[in-house]
């Protein structure tokens, strides 16, 4: 039961770091989104049930800091989790490179989905795409650079608190 809260703690640390990065990047009017990393870790390294719970909490955490309908991030994270769960048995999910690839694809998917959900607010759609392309590219770089540290941090945090990841990942419901 404690696993989702520990994963939330790790995700909150990631969120805090990215929030500080975004603060400095705001000077150039670019931003980073790394929700895909949280989804990839929960979907690939945890049992489906714990991954589900962890992502629900993480999504609500992201929702509280964004002017979106409360639950939008949570819904998108859980949907991405469900998609990754469909093929997780066919990939080497302990491999960091595979995890990074899944995280990058999930991240891009989440950016597109969020854009789709918030498109109606924007008065000039043609002006939105160049900005989104730059943000997606920077986010992709961030996922690749931060990813290995993030996966290691989450694994160490869980191991430190006595949660064995291999047992967690096998624990299908």
């Amino acid at each position: 039961m404690k696993t989702p809260f520990l994963v939330l703690l790790g995700n909150a640390i990631l969120w805090a770091i990215v929030a500080q990065l975004d603060h400095y990047l705001a000077t150039w009017d670019v931003s980073i989104f790394v929700g895909g990393l949280c989804v990839a870790f929960a979907a690939l390294r945890l049992s489906p049930r714990d991954g589900y719970r962890a992502l629900l909490l993480t999504g609500l955490w992201f929702d509280a800091a964004a002017p979106v309908p409360f639950g939008l991030h949570a819904l998108l994270f859980l949907f991405a989790h469900a998609v990754i769960n469909c093929f997780r048995s066919r990939i080497a999910r302990d491999d960091t490179l595979i995890s990074l690839l899944v995280a990058a694809i999930a991240n891009l998917g989440l950016i597109v989905a969020l854009t789709g959900g918030l498109l109606h607010r924007n008065p000039a759609l043609w002006e939105l795409w160049p900005r989104l392309s730059v943000d997606s590219l920077i986010s992709f770089c961030a996922v690749i650079l931060i990813g290995p540290w993030y996966f290691a941090m989450q694994e160490h945090l869980l191991a430190f608190c006595g949660v064995a990841l291999r047992r967690e990942a096998r624990n299908f419901h």
Binding site: H23, W28, S31, W61, A66, G71, L118, A124, R131
Partner: protein
């Protein structure tokens, strides 16, 4: 075979049930959850802001004494100028009050200025927000206008126990009643164009046909005071492009916002003295 297919569809089924259940969760519970998560995040934001302040402090400590003496002199010059302007402002305010009494005019809404440090800037393509280090502990109300040295920053969107979130004027969906400087005809300003590596822009609509503005001859757009949120005359930006709108009755165009909005560190919240 059927069981395997069901196993594959089970996560989506669970998600669908969870989504339906979420729709029926009372708004009060959702509001409480959001506020709880928000208050958990507030110390993280404030700590980040405080660490940056400490960094600035130690960076300033590296300046030589001569540089500090020079800065002190400049500050005292500025202070004396501001004191003179304050006296002029007070006498003008008295004249305005006397004229209002004589002509029985309704008085302008009064505001208390609350200066606040920016602890986090969150400028994405989807929204543009700031977190400031003052909240309900300084009686900041939701909807209060926020300004800075370059004009309008935005309005307070959320208030926490000791932080508030400001929705920027460049945020998509923000609409403000505006007018040209020295003019009284109302127009509509909407934020939302935020190109990467450049200042934010907005859209102005309902501009009369005879108004001419372009990059070489920009026109200043200010708040009109209509709508009751922003006082009149606050700078919004410069109109740099105008085209005839679809109906042919008005023009619409592009407004360049102050580039200092992107690196803003200090704002002033205008708190209504007697809230409606």
């Amino acid at each position: 075979m059927l069981s395997k297919r069901f196993d594959q569809a089970r996560p989506f089924l669970t998600l669908g049930i969870a989504f339906l259940a979420w729709l029926f969760v009372p708004t009060v519970i959702k509001h409480f959850l959001r506020a709880s998560f928000f208050e958990f995040q507030a110390p993280i934001d404030v700590t980040g802001g405080t660490v940056r302040d400490v960094q600035d402090y130690w960076a300033l400590r590296t300046h030589s004494t001569n540089e500090l003496i020079e800065a002190g002199k400049n500050l005292s010059n500025l202070n004396s100028q501001y004191e003179t302007q304050l006296r002029e402002y007070a006498s003008m305010q008295n004249r305005v009050n006397r004229l209002e009494d004589l002509l029985r005019l309704p008085s302008y809404p009064e505001f208390r200025t609350e200066a606040a440090r920016v602890v986090r800037r969150d400028f994405t393509a989807w929204w543009q927000r700031l977190v400031i280090r003052k909240g309900a502990n300084y009686h900041i109300p939701v909807g209060a206008p926020v300004i800075f040295v370059g004009g309008v920053v935005g309005r307070v969107a959320e208030v926490g126990a000791y932080t508030s979130v400001v929705e920027l004027v460049s945020s998509p969906g923000v609409r403000i009643a505006a007018t040209l400087e020295g003019d009284s005809r109302p127009m509509s300003f909407q934020g939302g164009i935020n190109p990467a590596f450049g200042p934010a822009k907005g859209i102005v609509e309902f501009v009369p046909l005879e108004v001419v503005a372009n990059r070489t001859l920009p026109k200043r757009l200010v708040t009109s005071g209509l709508g009751g949120i922003f006082p009149a005359g606050l700078n919004l930006g410069q109109i740099v492009k105008l085209d005839r709108s679809g109906d042919g009755l008005f023009q619409s165009g592009e407004v360049e916002l102050d580039p200092r909005l992107l690196s803003i560190t200090e704002v002033a919240v205008l708190v209504p003295v007697s809230p409606q």
